[in-house]
């Protein structure tokens, strides 16, 4: 029986449900000190002086360090040349929350006292927090020596004015895709222990090998003496692939003090220090014909990078412009972008990273075309979809060739799940009843780029390469260890990779163990991001397992005195086809494989092990169609999501239970972006207003609807599993469905757009006729 495709329960759960998982802050080696950072209270200032004397007088404080104590270290790696981050702020600060000094104390309470006791005198400088302010004439500069706040620009070759002018109609929108915080429930934490044998750093991180590579270079120690371990990781969503200075400072302190040093962010610190995502502004315009077909698309993107350009942050608008046309066959597409620094927390990846922004804008403008032409939004989509026969589909960018999709089928399934015609009829009835809540229906037929990736895909973000590794090792008793290079943060790699290996090897699921996240045991790895776990890392496990099985069959054939071609493997044994009873167990084969006299001469002892680096010829392109029904209170503008139907196409599904869980979580974050979440900075001081969970509205169970899930399957031709990845889908597709539903409900007020988050205040104002 195949385990791939089965709703197998997770291997991770028993430990996590019994409170015996291991998160970084759970570790407490003897003599462990606690580090806490003094954070800048200014968004832009020169540091006049730092007085640490009072802090040092507190009982239990071991040390206080400032930039002067890190003079021999370069800026932390991964940044943009000449715009890099120092380990601790040197002379000036550029965002509220920037680490200025670090105190080390006996415990976290004393460390907090000491942080309060450090006095920093600042000389304030003018602040910019928005793209508009940062690009205005004579704007204050985040980096004086750069001469501008603009970092990268990709201009447009042709503004498409002629194509747009030739169309029956033009529709355009200015769209603000607001800054959102990732808010993994476990904030950043690390534990550094630098002994005479070298450094071990436990970190809650999505890419431990990458961290090891950068850390050893920065510390100037061989990688053999630099071990990074990502134990259980309490969520990440992109925020844990960033080169936070805290991760580099902690090891140095550990070495200096000769004891383990732990840092565990508070949530308030995390809201100011962990990289948020999104924060783009778009000017999107299309030219369309009366029949709703779109002939030309122009997208101009501005990316707020925050104070220090992060490699992922710089890459966000690249992905956005790549995916500008979404699911649609648009003859002419032109895009441009610029990236802009501001005095805010540096921006990086957040679930979807550049693709939710693309999907949101194209899905909004398609609805606007429907509104202008008087056609049903579902019909406008049908008339513009790339047909299933057109795949592989070359887009406006040569790097982007969509692998496979079936949008008409996905749309039909979504409309069925949401009972589209019935809700439209209900909407008509509602409109004649001024006491009933407004009703709106929104669709989002999205597509994203995932499965990172082909060679070159991740190198641009600073990673070593774009492959993923797997090492499959058969133990002498026939049980199997799978070492996977991709290290999870909630996705269920132990379960999913066990399913894949079990199917390939014919070994029981329970006799397979998956290990990840330790640079001392996992050969090499890239990480878990860009929905690459299954398509790239899972494919590595599959192919490595196949190769181990090929050699195991030779051993089994030798033991059975049969031809390896006549063997089949199932239920932990090798059987000779057509000869019932002639079989040898996997454990006997494994045992023999370590005995030189028991194996065929062409094999060596211990050969039932394979180490493989899986490359991908192309990205994968998960897609889907989501439908949302909202009700809006006419008195308050409060939006309630009544129904959310989600139809995904991620190609081959390894575990439907886990795939559904991934989509639910992503959709929840998408609804949250549409309705609740926004990082807000006071524009003149740069002080974050939403610096705790009191102000930043992460939704609870009471704020979110149940989901109705469907699925279609167009396999990915670019990897052995046929899988496209599922981690980011929900967050890509959901925001537009929700906002399209709200605009649909408000259309009787002449509303054609509302920016996220659609708060009651904004919606109410639109109902009063106030333009946004």
């Amino acid at each position: 029986m195949s385990l791939v495709g089965a709703r197998v329960l997770r291997k991770e759960d028993p430990r996590l449900l019994s409170g015996t998982g291991t998160f970084v802050d759970d570790l407490a080696p003897p003599r462990c000190a606690f580090a806490s950072f003094v954070m800048s209270t200014e968004a832009h200032a020169r540091i006049v002086s730092i007085d640490v004397r009072a802090a040092l007088k507190i009982d239990g404080v071991h040390a206080v360090y400032t930039a002067a104590d890190f003079a021999e270290f370069p800026d932390v790696p991964g940044g943009f040349p000449d715009l890099e981050r120092p380990a601790l702020a040197r002379n000036s600060v550029r965002f509220v929350g920037e680490p200025v000094a670090v105190v080390v104390a006996e415990d976290r309470y004393i460390a907090a006292d000491a942080v309060q006791a450090v006095e920093v005198d600042y000389d304030s400088l003018p602040v910019v927090t928005t793209i508009a302010a940062a690009t205005a004439e004579g704007a204050p500069l985040v980096f004086e020596h750069h001469g501008s706040n603009v970092v990268t620009v990709v201009p447009m070759l042709d503004d498409l004015e002629r194509e747009l002018e030739r169309c029956d109609g033009r529709a355009k929108l200015h769209i603000v895709n607001q800054r959102c915080a990732a808010v993994p429930i476990e904030p950043l934490a690390c534990l550094a222990d630098w002994t005479r044998d070298g450094l071990t750093l436990w970190a809650t991180f999505q890419a431990p090998h990458h961290l090891r590579n950068y850390l050893s270079t920065w510390l100037d120690i061989p990688q053999t003496q630099c071990r990074v371990i990502a134990p259980d990781v309490g969520g990440g969503f992109g925020s844990k692939i960033v080169w936070y200075p805290e991760l580099f400072v902690a090891p140095v302190i550990s070495k200096r003090l000769g004891r383990p040093v732990k840092f565990a962010q508070t949530r308030t610190e995390a809201m100011q220090q962990m990289a948020p995502g999104r924060d783009q502004e778009h000017d999107i315009e299309v030219g369309y014909e009366r029949d709703g077909t779109i002939k030309a698309l122009r997208l101009v993107v501005s990316q707020n990078l925050g104070a220090y350009p992060d490699p992922t942050g710089l890459g966000l608008p690249v992905l956005t412009t790549w995916m500008a046309a979404g699911a649609y066959k648009i003859p002419k597409v032109e895009t441009s972008f610029r990236t802009v620094m501001t005095n805010t927390t540096p921006v990086a990846a957040y679930r979807g990273a550049g693709r939710p922004e693309a999907a949101f804008s194209i899905e909004r403008i398609v609805d606007l075309v429907a509104q202008r032409t008087g056609l049903d939004p579902a019909e406008v989509r049908r008339r513009n979809f790339i047909p299933p026969s057109a795949f592989p589909y070359e887009t406006h960018n040569e790097a982007v060739v969509y692998d496979s999709a079936n949008f008409p089928e996905g749309l039909a399934e979504c409309l069925r799940l949401i009972d589209y015609d019935a809700v439209r009829a209900e909407q008509v009835e509602r409109r004649s009843d001024p006491t009933a809540p407004l009703l709106g229906i929104g669709l989002s037929s999205w597509l994203e780029i995932a499965g990172f990736g082909p060679n070159g895909a991740l190198e641009g973000f600073g990673h070593l390469a774009s492959w993923e590794s797997a090492q499959v090792r058969v133990q002498p008793d026939g049980s199997v260890i799978v070492f996977a290079g991709s290290s999870p943060h909630g996705q269920g790699h132990e379960t999913v990779f066990s399913q894949i290996a079990a199917d390939e090897l014919g070994v029981s699921y329970d006799r397979i163990q998956v290990r990840t996240g330790d640079t001392a045991t996992v050969v090499q790895g890239i990480g878990t991001m860009g929905s690459r776990g299954v398509p790239t890392s899972g494919s590595a496990v599959k192919v490595a397992s196949q190769r181990v099985l090929d050699r195991a069959k030779k051993v089994a054939a030798h033991l059975l005195e049969a031809s390896e071609h006549d063997l089949e493997v199932a239920d932990d044994a090798f059987n000779v086809k057509g000869s019932p009873g002639k079989k040898v167990s996997w454990s006997d084969v494994a045992w023999a494989s370590f005995q030189p006299l028991a194996i065929p001469p062409e094999l060596q002892a211990g050969s039932l092990e394979e180490r493989l680096f899986q490359e991908s010829p192309n990205f994968s392109y998960p897609s889907g169609v989501y439908g949302c029904v909202v009700e809006i209170d006419r008195e308050t503008g409060h939006v309630t999501v009544r129904n959310m139907a989600i139809v995904d196409d991620c190609g081959t599904v390894i575990n439907p239970l886990l795939a559904e869980g991934q989509v639910h979580g992503g959709v929840a974050q998408g609804i949250a972006q549409a309705l609740y979440e926004e990082m807000i900075y006071e524009p003149t001081t740069g002080t974050p207003i939403t610096s705790s969970l009191l102000d930043y509205l992460v939704p609870s169970a009471a704020d979110l609807p149940g989901f109705v899930a469907g699925r279609i399957n167009t396999p990915c031709p670019n990897n052995p599993l046929g899988a496209k990845g599922i981690g980011e889908s929900g967050a890509v597709g959901a925001p537009a469905a929700v906002i399209n539903a709200i605009v649909d409900a408000l259309s009787e007020f002449g509303v054609d757009h509302v920016d996220m988050p659609a708060t009651p205040e904004k919606v109410w104002a639109l109902m009063q006729g106030g333009a946004e």
Partner: protein, 160 residues
């Protein structure tokens, strides 16, 4: 510190005694003094509920309780749950069966909150489950499968 006070708290049925700083939070008493690290910390404003435990049988956020306030009381943490599903209670088993967790960081608090909720209400509706858990944030699941997990626990009472 001279202001330190002795406290005695029954944790998971065992009497524990420590001398503590009066400002020590119960969650840090549990995690750092008793080394019961199943109870997690996810915020500093009592919003996330990752630190939820039972205090005298009722669910509380252990970051809002001082250790000295728990002096003389009984605390149950995730490590103190046991039941007939191979050691798990129906609530724990429900989360396992229905994929009610992903990264697992909010999970112990969520399980304790559900345990407290089902002591107060034996047959909640889905809406009551959602409202009953609004003090516990999960960033991974979108909550649907947590609601399913609670439903499973209601439908499959502990065989013990």
């Amino acid at each position: 510190m001279s202001r330190d006070q002795p406290v005695e708290i029954t944790v998971n049925g065992s009497r524990t005694r420590h001398v503590v700083d009066p400002r020590l939070l119960l969650v840090h008493y549990l995690r750092e003094r008793e080394r019961l690290t199943g109870t997690h910390v996810g915020c500093d404003t009592s919003n996330c509920g990752a630190c939820t435990v039972l205090l005298d049988g009722e669910s509380v956020k252990s970051c809002t309780v001082l250790a000295v306030q728990a002096d003389g009381h009984e605390v149950t943490t995730i490590e103190g749950l046991s039941g007939g599903y191979d050691g798990f209670t129906a609530v724990q088993e429900g989360f396992r069966q229905c994929h009610g967790l992903q990264c697992g960081y909010c999970t112990p608090g969520m399980v304790m909150a559900v345990t407290g909720l089902l002591r107060e209400r034996t047959a909640p509706t889905d809406a009551e489950i959602r409202e009953g858990l609004e003090g516990n944030l999960c960033r991974c699941t979108g909550y649907q499968m947590i609601v399913d997990s609670v439903r499973w626990a209601i439908d499959h009472p502990d065989p013990d």
